[in-house]
């Protein structure tokens, strides 16, 4: 760390900036240092360190919490790409711990059991940046207002069913487009209806995009899924259970990376989709009873 007094750490620009550098990339869930190594070798732009992938959290049930610091440190030691880790919604002490461990991004995540059903973490208080999930534009803007430096659409984690991810990215994109076409006097009501801060609503209306990077997550399992998210306007992709719950993680991980870069070239997507072995078995979101849907956590 530089000792110069003129250096400014933890600014919004620096926090949002790291997400800008992750664009066009794939962030992969990993539960061991060995998996982190595979992800880095396959071309992941960052890894998400956690104890159980969402598919296992879903099948094993119980309260899901921040991972063991030993596991997170082992993964940080193993790779040189950015390492993210998950804190429970509203659990500001888990976030303090993750910052002290030196993670590069904190995911305040609905995949874990919420610790506070009213408040999210005040993310302005931290030097480390946060990414948060959203199912619609209002939710995204509320998280940004709390200091989130990156947003990901939620999808339905641990299912291998991409339909919810599709729904959420389409919803966010269409709500942004709607704001862009409104006259100035309509934005007051739009802010009220979105339940989002007026200033952020105006900013989105003027720029036609979120003020932070927007990735997609939740149910992405194949190269074509990733490319579809990119064509729908995502800046990049999180892949959770989809890689290490599949038959050939090394090959599938590299294929998803290539399909994300060449998302608009079906011939490349076809080529990388060959012979990947079994995809994760998956669950149809429609078969998941509403109380077990993770996307409904957070508000």
């Amino acid at each position: 760390m530089s000792e110069s007094t003129t250096h400014q750490f933890g600014s919004s620009r620096v926090k949002r900036g790291l997400a800008e550098m992750l664009k066009g990339g794939v962030i992969m869930d990993v539960v061991t240092a060995a998996q982190a190594r595979i992800a880095e070798d396959a071309g992941a732009v960052a890894v998400m360190a956690l104890e159980r992938v969402p598919a296992d959290i879903r099948s094993q049930g119980g309260v899901a919490r921040m991972s063991d610091p030993d596991l997170i440190e082992a993964i940080i030691a193993e790779v040189s790409i950015p390492v993210m880790a998950k804190a429970r919604i509203g659990h500001f002490v888990e976030a303090q711990v993750l910052q002290s461990l030196g993670v590069d991004y904190i995911d305040e995540s609905e995949v874990l059991s919420p610790a506070d059903y009213v408040n999210h973490i005040d993310k302005w208080d931290y030097t480390v940046p946060f990414v948060c999930g959203a199912t619609n534009l209002g939710e995204a803007l509320r998280r940004i207002n709390e200091g989130a430096a990156m947003v990901r659409s939620k999808g339905e984690a641990g299912t291998g069913d991409v339909s919810e991810a599709t729904k959420h990215i389409r919803k966010i994109k269409s709500e942004i487009a709607a704001l862009s076409s409104m006259s100035k006097d309509e934005l007051y009501v739009a802010a009220k209806e979105l339940q989002a801060p007026y200033d952020l609503v105006v900013e989105v209306a003027e720029t036609g995009k979120l003020p932070v990077v927007l990735f997609t997550a939740g149910g992405v399992a194949t190269p074509a899924d990733a490319a579809m998210m990119m064509q729908l306007g995502a800046d990049g992709v999180f892949v959770g259970s989809g890689i290490f719950k599949s038959g050939n993680p090394e090959k599938r991980a590299a294929a998803v990376v290539k399909a994300t870069t060449f998302y608009d070239d079906p011939s490349v997507i076809a080529e990388v989709s060959r012979g990947l072995g079994e995809a994760m078995v998956g669950i149809n979101v429609a078969d998941v009873p509403a109380p077990h849907r993770l996307a409904e956590r957070g508000w």
């Binding site: 760390m1 000792e3 003129t6 250096h7 790291l18 071309g43 390492v83």
Partner: protein
């Protein structure tokens, strides 16, 4: 033309083909937008044939290990190495600086670079994201005022070879901007600010390259 401090008025690329921005991963859209704003014709580059048809290249910020892998897997690295040897101007920011370095310290297993700059670059030299920072940085070749430089998990020039020239250093002497002939690299991200003097400096090199000063020198 290394180090010649000329005027930094707007300069568009000449007739030798558009300027490319490597678009495998990272903040390439921001560079495209900056270069277009400066009047250049800009294309994105992901494939060998695209790399063959440009008169200059910007390599954006992002994850250098990912750019390296994809550039080799899709054959664009090979063409870019040849273009760099021909003298084509290239400007790399952050990950782009790593891609241009002849030597990488702390790369991932098997990581390669395009090379061209006679330097060793250290990845993530300041540490993790909580050590990312903004600072005012004097860049003599660009004149006053200093640049507002944004360092994000940034690399630094750990060793400066005799072929390369430092353009900017932090207070402790760490080299964070470097030039060698038509190649430019910065540890930081001018594309995230409104100060595009490095991009203008790069486009001046492109204009010189288009005029044939470098292109015909080597086959």
């Amino acid at each position: 033309m290394a180090g010649s401090p000329q005027g930094h008025q707007e300069v568009a690329a000449g007739g030798g083909g558009p300027v490319g921005v490597l678009a495998l991963q990272g903040d390439f859209r921001e560079h495209v937008s900056v270069l277009r704003g400066l009047g250049a014709e800009v294309v994105t580059v992901r494939r060998p044939e695209e790399a063959a048809a440009i008169s200059g290249l910007v390599i954006p910020g992002g994850e250098s290990s990912v750019m390296d892998k994809l550039s080799r897997a899709f054959g664009v690295a090979e063409v870019l190495k040849r273009r760099i040897a021909e003298g084509m101007p290239v400007y790399g920011t952050c990950a782009g600086l790593i891609m241009l370095a002849d030597r990488i310290v702390d790369g991932i297993r098997g990581q390669e670079s395009l090379g061209g700059l006679d330097v060793a670059v250290r990845r993530n030299a300041f540490g993790g994201q909580t050590e990312s920072f903004e600072a005012e940085l004097s860049v003599p070749v660009l004149g006053d005022p200093p640049m507002h430089a944004i360092f994000i998990r940034a690399p630094v020039v750990a060793e400066l070879g005799p072929g390369a020239t430092a353009l900017a250093t932090l207070d402790d002497g760490t080299v964070v901007a470097v030039e060698q002939g038509n190649l430019l690299g910065t540890s930081f991200h001018p594309e995230m600010t409104a100060d595009y003097r490095f991009h203008q400096y790069f486009l001046q090199k492109v204009a010189g390259f288009d005029n044939g000063t470098a292109r015909s020198s080597r086959p």
